[in-house]
């Protein structure tokens, strides 16, 4: 995967690059919006990480121009803590996801992976398959090794999200945001409880567990 980091804080950019590299993702750096646009012209990245505040050309301007030129590359927007307006303006300008600074590196990596995957999976599917797990999106039936797994609606959504991001770490915040559509800090193990419920249904009767906990990061569904 090829990621473009557009961020004027060189140290932050290098840390991001380092973190992504650890996850097997190569990243190029650009110091401002204009450099960012040039880098996009050189080679279209799979995902762009875009900082809000930058000299010369800020994130919103760059994003607006990028979208006006028809580039549909997924963009992860970074905004500073508390600047809700930035977040809104970023999404309005066409960002696909946002992250508020300060963030955990693992959160950033997880979101970048999710964004890159989202593009691949954009085509309409009716059946999701991960290993011996099968999810029919039309009949809403989930089977593992042909055995039907009975899921509550939310558990179904949760599993669907995990299946769409198979092999990736997804964080608790991502799950709350993408599955429940809330953006707040639960300060508690809410997501863990729901995952463990899902896990008990998914893995209990089988030798090989699929739903793994990634320490300090979140969860991962493996084939």
């Amino acid at each position: 995967m090829n990621v473009l980091i557009v961020e004027d804080d060189a140290e932050a950019a290098l840390n991001m690059q380092r973190g992504l590299k650890d996850a097997g993702i190569e990243a190029r750096l650009a110091g401002d919006g204009e450099q960012g646009l040039r880098a996009v012209k050189d080679e279209m990245p799979d995902v762009i990480i875009l900082d809000r505040m930058m000299p010369v050309m800020d994130g919103v301007s760059m994003l607006t121009q990028l979208r006006s030129e028809g580039a549909d590359v997924p963009v992860l927007f970074l905004s500073a803590l508390g600047e809700l307006e930035d977040r809104v303006s970023g999404l309005r300008a066409g960002a696909d996801d946002y992250l508020v600074k300060p963030y955990a590196l693992s959160e950033l990596v997880a979101r970048v992976e999710a964004l890159s995957r989202r593009k691949e999976k954009d085509q309409v599917e009716t059946i999701l398959r991960v290993g011996d797990l099968e999810m029919n999106l039309i009949s809403r039936v989930v089977k593992r090794q042909s055995k039907i797994i009975d899921l509550q609606p939310r558990e179904f959504q949760l599993l669907e999200f995990l299946m769409r991001h198979v092999g990736q770490s997804v964080t608790r915040t991502m799950l709350l945001e993408k599955v429940w559509a809330y953006h707040f800090d639960p300060q508690t193990n809410v997501i863990d409880v729901h995952i463990s419920r899902l896990r008990s249904k998914l893995d209990k009767d089988f030798d090989r567990p699929m739903l793994h906990t990634v320490r300090g990061e979140g969860y991962q569904l493996k084939a």
């Binding site: 803590l81 307006e85 809104v88 809330y182 953006h183 300060q187 508690t188 193990n189 409880v193």
Partner: protein
């Protein structure tokens, strides 16, 4: 003890007074430039101008009239003398002039020959005669001889009663023959005197108006200055950082009171906002200090451990990361609360389904409660809508539900309800069967970083309810903390917390 000499309190007082005077001096760099006084001056100038116009008009009118009246009186006498001369000759004219009685006192009459030599004068003319100079007679003669049968004669003379004053005579010369001229002149002082009286009256009255006007202007000025000074001195104190300074309102209901009240209201709001900001800043600084120093100590200890046993490095870093994460979360919460308080209302408020929010929260936390072994019930009314920021409200409800589940021991239960109150307010309530909170503590548990004794063993930093309170206020709602269902079967009395939002208009 310090070596500093004790300060003289009187000196302090004098200093204070001087400072006050200085402050007023700033207010009045120039007395004449103050608005009320300038207005007074403008008024007085206009008054003087108008008075001068009126006076000028009176002068013109009266002087024209008196001159005309004088002329007709003179002409009548000239005519009568001329007639007498025609009838009875020069001698009769001389006799008539010499025989003037007191009635004719205001008239000076005389006869002179072709050389200007005075032949006869009436009594008044004799008295004023020395002041009827030869030059005047010569000039009159010359003019009369050049063809005008009658010519004018004007001269001044000290008044008989008042030698220093002057009488103004207005008169005519008539040529009866080459060597016989008569003149009749009238003392116009009576008209001048009347006019002088008028001048005196008008000028005196005007002066009085000007003086009284200046006096009133000064008084008004002082009054206004004092009112302005009350405002300005308070604003100066505010400028110097004393946000508690307020203007004394005198209940007179004038515009200064209105202005003062307005300024006071603004200051109230400013003080509150500044107080909140200061408090938030203090809170952030204060509350991050201890976790930060704890983190630092932990890192130092870890470093010592790692020096001895390098295999512990990974664990130490993971621990440090967790600690940092917790610290950042605390910081974010304090920060969000401060922003909510500073802005006064939650951002991005929309009308949304409160029913859906409550159902989502119930679904999220039902799992947590049953995972712990607690009963979890919920009653959520359908089709209830609320105005607000969904994420902030979710955060608040999450905090309330999390608290209830955390502090309720097993066996026990948590009930979550959402309904319209009789006032159409939207009430989210959470009731638990835990130990509850003694009434005396209920008011302070929603303060920042307040944790009751028996809660210290559980995780948390004591911001949950403070955040709920902040969210409630930012939605013009409230957080109500009350007793739970009571003691029953070894459980309770429990706690009931309710987040109440105002009804949605329309």
């Amino acid at each position: 003890m310090s070596d500093e000499p004790a300060r003289d309190p009187r000196k302090d007082m004098i200093d204070a007074i001087w400072r006050r005077v200085d402050a007023l001096a700033i207010l009045r760099p120039n007395f004449f430039r103050q608005t009320p006084f300038r207005l007074t001056l403008v008024f007085l100038c206009v008054y003087v101008f108008v008075a001068a116009l009126v006076f000028g008009y009176i002068y013109l009118a009266t002087s024209t009239e008196s001159r005309a009246w004088g002329n007709s009186s003179i002409d009548a006498r000239i005519k009568s003398l001329q007639d007498l001369d025609a009838r009875e000759g020069h001698a009769a004219v001389v006799a008539k002039i010499l025989g003037d009685d007191a009635v004719e006192w205001v008239f000076a009459k005389g006869v002179f020959d072709g050389s200007g030599q005075v032949l006869a004068q009436n009594t008044r003319a004799r008295m004023e005669g020395r002041n009827l100079p030869d030059t005047v007679i010569k000039a009159g003669l010359k003019e009369v001889n050049s063809g005008n049968p009658i010519t004018s004669l004007n001269f001044f003379s000290p008044s008989p009663n008042d030698p220093s004053g002057c009488c103004r005579f207005q008169g005519r010369i008539l040529r009866l023959d080459d060597n016989f001229f008569i003149y009749v002149a009238m003392d116009m002082s009576w008209a001048d005197h009347g006019f002088q009286q008028e001048i005196k009256a008008v000028a005196g009255g005007g002066l009085l108006v000007v003086i009284l006007g200046l006096f009133a202007g000064t008084l008004i000025n002082q009054e206004v200055t004092r009112s302005v000074a009350r405002v300005t001195s308070v604003l100066e104190r505010v400028q110097e950082g004393d946000l508690r300074a307020r203007i004394v309102v005198r209940d007179s209901g004038d515009e200064f009171d209105a202005l003062s009240m307005r300024i006071n209201q603004t200051l109230d709001r400013m003080e509150k906002t500044m107080g909140n900001l200061k408090y938030a800043g203090d809170a952030i600084a204060h509350d991050l200090r201890s976790p930060l120093s704890r983190l630092r100590t932990k890192l130092e200890v870890s470093l010592l451990d790692v020096d001895k046993d390098p295999s512990k490095a990974h664990d130490a870093l993971v621990k440090a990361l967790e600690e940092t994460g917790q610290l950042l979360r605390t910081f974010q919460t304090v920060f969000s609360m401060s922003r909510l308080q500073a802005q006064g209302q939650a951002p991005d408020q929309v009308v949304f389904s409160a029913t859906e929010l409550a159902e989502d929260m119930a679904e999220l936390f039902e799992a947590v409660a049953s995972d712990k072994g607690l009963e979890f019930d919920f009653e959520i009314d359908k089709n209830i809508r609320a105005l607000g920021n969904r994420d902030f409200l979710a955060q608040a409800l999450s905090n309330l539900l999390d608290n209830a589940i955390k502090y309720t021991p097993v066996p026990g239960g948590v009930t979550f309800r959402m309904r319209h109150t009789s006032q159409r307010e939207i009430e989210f309530s959470i009731t638990d069967t835990g130990p509850g909170v003694p009434e005396k503590d209920r008011a302070r548990i929603s303060e920042r970083f307040v944790r009751l004794e028996n809660s210290r063993t559980l995780p948390g930093v004591g911001l949950g309810l403070a955040m709920v309170e902040a969210v409630a206020v930012a939605h013009k709602g409230r957080l109500v903390i009350s007793e739970g269902p009571g003691v029953f079967d070894g459980q309770g009395p429990g706690l009931r917390t309710a987040l109440v939002l105002p009804p949605v208009a329309g």
